[in-house]
């Protein structure tokens, strides 16, 4: 397998007496979708927040594009090109798609907003993601469906030449057709050369879209495996027992 763009080595994180992440290793590869699975409380969110710079781990190495880096805040992560799309999306209903995509990082010409530059770039980004479901990119986000809102949130994350995009439960609240649409978009991101990390509870989604699967169990990385080498049952066992034996194919 190629060099990972993002690699975490022996990451540890505690909240007071609770040891949440125990020597976690994790890799993400450019052009691939890495699914992060695990039961509730396994430490998925904590791991993601360490990558995004929201939490600072006590120990462990953070290697980005082959070089060790220090991430001590969300700004550091953003500067490296790591973007996160939260489960609750965090969009402003009363703003249109363009303004939501550029919120906090508006294009300006002098004092004023450069609306045409923002609109053109937003259009280009959405076209690049093969998004054709939105009628007008000047419509308010309030009028969009759940899948379209997810699309806007993802487009917002890839607008900045980002290299790693983290999606937290992107299909959790969506119907069948919309889930399909978002999974296609996730695949498209990876095909465009980004490293995509997807947190999901839905193994059907994971097997449809992921290239490799990282399963966490009680704060440890149970295994990070290639999708083709495991079955859905193996992944369920990894999530529920943390045992890697079944995966290597020993016993049933």
């Amino acid at each position: 397998m190629a060099e990972p763009i993002l690699s975490l080595r022996n990451l540890n994180k505690s909240f007071g007496p609770v040891h949440v992440l125990k020597d976690v290793n994790f890799n993400a590869y450019a052009g691939q979708v890495t699914a992060l699975v695990g039961d509730n409380g396994a430490g998925k969110s904590t791991l993601i927040k360490c990558i995004a710079g929201i939490y600072t781990p006590e120990s462990g190495d953070f290697i980005f594009e082959g070089k060790p880096v220090q991430i001590s805040g969300p700004r550091d992560a953003t500067a490296l090109g790591i973007e996160i799309v939260y489960q609750d999306l965090a969009l402003c209903d009363n703003l249109d798609i363009v303004h939501n995509m550029f919120l906090g990082r508006e294009e300006k010409s002098g004092l004023t907003l450069n609306e045409s530059a923002m609109e053109s770039l937003a259009k280009k980004t959405l076209d690049g993601l093969s998004v054709r479901t939105v009628k007008s990119i000047r419509q308010k986000v309030a009028s969009l469906s759940g899948g379209q809102r997810q699309t806007v949130a993802i487009a917002r994350a890839v607008l900045w030449n980002s290299k790693v995009v983290i999606l937290d439960e992107p299909t959790a609240a969506l119907g069948v057709a919309q889930t399909e649409q978002v999974l296609k978009l996730v695949r498209q991101l990876a095909d465009n050369g980004l490293a995509v990390i997807v947190i999901s509870h839905n193994l059907n989604d994971v097997f449809q879209v992921a290239d490799n699967i990282a399963a966490m169990y009680l704060g440890s990385m149970a295994a990070q495996v290639d999708k083709s080498s495991v079955s859905q049952n193996d992944v369920v066992r990894l999530i529920t027992t943390g045992s890697a034996e079944t995966v290597t194919g020993g016993k049933k």
Binding site: H99, L103, A142
Partner: protein, 403 residues
């Protein structure tokens, strides 16, 4: 290159937005028309040029307070003390000019600065200490009332004789200057619009609202022409003695504030951040917006506008009194903003809403007074109109979410 979209299409787009609950200024415009027709048919004085000019000066102070309030309402907050902030700043202005002999160009900036400071204090309590703005400004409502009494002192009412301050509400542009002013304003409005669409077209973007905008712009220019002609007619009962013609000075003042505030809200990133914080403060925070700073500055702008309104009050009454900016002032201002289409839930509204709503409030006040209704009926009708607007706001909000 750029796709042309028919006028029917843009009108039907607009109609589907109306149906989806984004009614905008439509109810206020209809309301204003209905009120003018009703009062015009019932009173022979209502539709005269003299009363029209009177209406504008009556509406001025409340409108300016409402314009500032819109910044705060857009965040989903409220400033109940804006009325008395106007009173306090007006008192500072009068005391500095009358008792301390400062010129107006020193006293007025000082009073506006004082307003900004009052707003900064409120904003700090709301944004930093997270006290609900309703409670903070209820407290400052009482405190500013006290401050006003203290500044005015024992005498009760202080007169002002500064000609510049008095001219704002009592003098008019000459007929020639009125038309020049109108031509300038209309020209700038049209050119600004054309420039915007020209730039969009150059960037290869679809301009589906151009024809719609053109209709609106032409309607605005027509209304402006009508208003200017009405205001340049002789309004004096005794023209040989005193001539009374032209646009009152307060109109350009308000238009200047309108253009400035609209520019900030629609063209700058600060304005976008105000809408964002009002729409979803958490999303704004995650996008890296300094939410606290946006909150504090919005309250500063609100009280700064109140200070200008204080000057307008003083100019109209020729004096400052302990009740300036009190009684129903603030409620009328909030009413004006909401009637104009600004949402009390935050995130939706325009500065021009204040003008439209301020006119509706002033028309009710003025029309019912002309018809000789007692104050009790007047208040009840104004209350009912506010309630209708708040209902439209709440219902349209529900419609927008469910779609």
């Amino acid at each position: 290159m750029s796709e042309q979209i028919s006028i029917e299409k843009s009108l039907s787009d607009w109609w589907s937005r109306v149906k989806a609950g984004q009614v905008g200024a439509l109810p206020a415009i209809l309301g204003l028309l209905v009120l003018c027709i009703v009062f015009g048919s019932m009173s022979s004085v209502f539709l005269t040029p003299g009363n029209f000019a009177n209406l504008l000066t009556q509406a001025a102070a409340v409108t300016v307070i409402a314009m500032g309030l819109i910044f705060v309402l857009l965040l989903g907050e409220i400033d109940l003390s804006a009325g008395y902030a106007a009173g306090v700043c007006g008192a500072i202005l009068v005391v500095m000019i009358t008792e301390m002999d400062y010129s107006w160009y020193v006293a007025f900036p000082v009073s506006v600065f004082a307003g900004v400071c009052l707003g900064g204090f409120i904003g700090y309590l709301v944004a930093q200490l997270k006290i609900p703005s309703f409670v903070v400004t209820l407290a400052t409502f009482l405190a500013f009332q006290g401050l006003l009494l203290l500044i005015i002192g024992e005498g009760g009412t202080i007169r002002i004789e500064d000609p510049v301050i008095l001219s704002i509400q009592n003098k008019n542009l000459t007929v020639l200057n009125s038309w020049l002013f109108f031509a300038l304003a209309a020209g700038a409005y049209l050119l600004g619009g054309f420039w915007k669409f020209y730039k969009r077209r150059k960037a290869g973007l679809i301009d589906n609202l151009f024809k719609f905008w053109l209709i609106k712009a032409l309607a605005m220019v027509a209304i402006g022409t009508l208003a200017t002609s009405a205001l340049t007619v002789e309004r004096s009962n005794n023209p040989d003695l005193v001539s009374l013609r032209g646009i009152p000075y307060v109109v350009p003042v308000i238009l200047f504030l309108l253009v400035g505030a609209t520019f900030v809200l629609t063209r700058t990133s600060y304005g976008l951040h105000i809408y964002a914080v009002g729409g979803n403060a958490e999303a704004a925070r995650r996008a890296g917006i300094n939410v606290k700073m946006v909150r504090i500055t919005a309250f500063m702008i609100c009280s700064g506008f109140a200070a200008v309104a204080g000057m307008i009050f003083v100019s109209r009454a020729n004096s400052i009194s302990p009740t300036t900016g009190g009684s129903s002032t603030l409620l009328y201002a909030v009413g004006a903003a909401v009637i104009g289409g600004t949402s009390l839930f935050g995130g939706k509204g325009k500065v021009s809403d204040a003008i439209l709503g301020g006119l509706v409030v002033a028309v009710i006040d003025n029309g019912m007074a002309l018809l000789g209704y007692p104050a009790g009926i007047k208040f009840m009708v104004t209350g009912a109109v506010l309630l209708i607007s708040a209902t439209i706001d709440a219902v349209s909000r529900r419609g927008a979410v469910s779609s």
